[in-house]
Subunit: 241 residues, 2 copies
Amino acid sequence: MDFRKIANIAVDCVILRLDSGTVNILLTRRFLNMYNDRYPIIDDWVLTGNHINRSERLDEAASRIFKEFTGFDHSYMEQFLTFGNPKRIKNEKDLLWTKSRGTDPRSISVAYYFLLQSDKNIVENSNLKWFRIDKLPELGFDHKQIISRAYDNLKLKVMSEPVIFNFLPDKFTLNELQLAYESVLDIDIDNRNFRKKATGKSYIVPLDEKRVGESKKPSKLYMFSKDVYDRTSAKNYVINV
Amino acid sequence: MDFRKIANIAVDCVILRLDSGTVNILLTRRFLNMYNDRYPIIDDWVLTGNHINRSERLDEAASRIFKEFTGFDHSYMEQFLTFGNPKRIKNEKDLLWTKSRGTDPRSISVAYYFLLQSDKNIVENSNLKWFRIDKLPELGFDHKQIISRAYDNLKLKVMSEPVIFNFLPDKFTLNELQLAYESVLDIDIDNRNFRKKATGKSYIVPLDEKRVGESKKPSKLYMFSKDVYDRTSAKNYVINV
DNA sequence: GCAAAAGTGTTGGTCATACACCCATGC
DNA sequence: GCATGGGTGTATGACCAACACTTTTGC
């Protein structure tokens, strides 16, 4: 195996998770000082990402990075865009950072997004934190743009494929499912209509089990069956334009 | 401007066009001989593509390549996936080819697809030809896979956004529009239902003009209005899962 | 006058939307 | 016993799918 890094190609990961009705993103701190920790030259945030090894596939690099930062194996990953604008290096800080790392300032970044189930917890620290997507801190490079394109792409995916379940625990309630859709798409959904639609899907399988303790009235649990989904969803060509 | 090539990053273009009811793809010949033209070592086909310049954006490189090969400015371009498998170099020929070109055998390719209007003609020659997507010749590298992923992506796009018009001349008949959908999606569409739906869209604008000569009965012409489309299609969040 | 492509309407079923109250439990 | 989130039904309109014949022209 060839573990040398390719200096001008990086993989950046937009790691997403739902929490209390909003989309959250995992970021790492970018920190650089010259002489003294109290006067850093760079102190802001960036996406989790890294360079790739010479003998590594792009998606291998992405899942490796995901595992390094979260500790989990990913359940959903999507390569959505590659960024290669020579002006991705926005400013002095970005340039300084690439120099300090010895990487090519003209680098391209293959961007992935990952969905993390809400019952999988990560220990945050001063270098690794969740941020609400509507309250992002100062970000390095073009990472604000990368996040925004990831989110656009996710919304499209969520409306056409059953990826939302990757945000939820294996067993979930219909109200959790509804809230997940509402959070991601930033819309309100009528509860009765939603339940009708959801219970009508054969691949949203009711379990003989209730969740107790979380709310006053126990709530019925469901699971998503990929098998049933694959079997039933024969591609129907609907032109929605 | 820095016109040096970046040796390990390429842009590949899947250039698509509709012709007599099928999707066609523009390919260039890959030809290499050692001593004698009559005994080539390599003689197969690849996508139009090239390396990028150090000061060029990815989409600039892609549109430059499109223009070089077709002579036209593009009307629709989509970056759909980046390929970076170390095994993209399938065999002896691929390796030989990269050596003969002096490029890095571990290169990644940012892939775009382009749609060409059916009234824009390209002069074909022995090094540049259209091929039906269902009758592709022997292809170098992973280009068969790139084409297949491009086509998958196009089908999804066609069903959710008004990109089909980029295959048609500015003025088109409803039957041409229907045939375009049928060709791309490889389906049959009921003519009466289709016309009802199409004429119901405000952005498919009837013209006071008929096409004569092509068929016995003159046929009404229509145009697509992007303005009207943008104004009327307020994003409606329909969960189709 | 006939071949060839253009163009036209109705019906039944499915699915999305709008809308307001009762239920089971914890405290 | 009351606060909290869980859970339920009906009526209306929009849209999709199925289906066969007439119209206009070139030759």
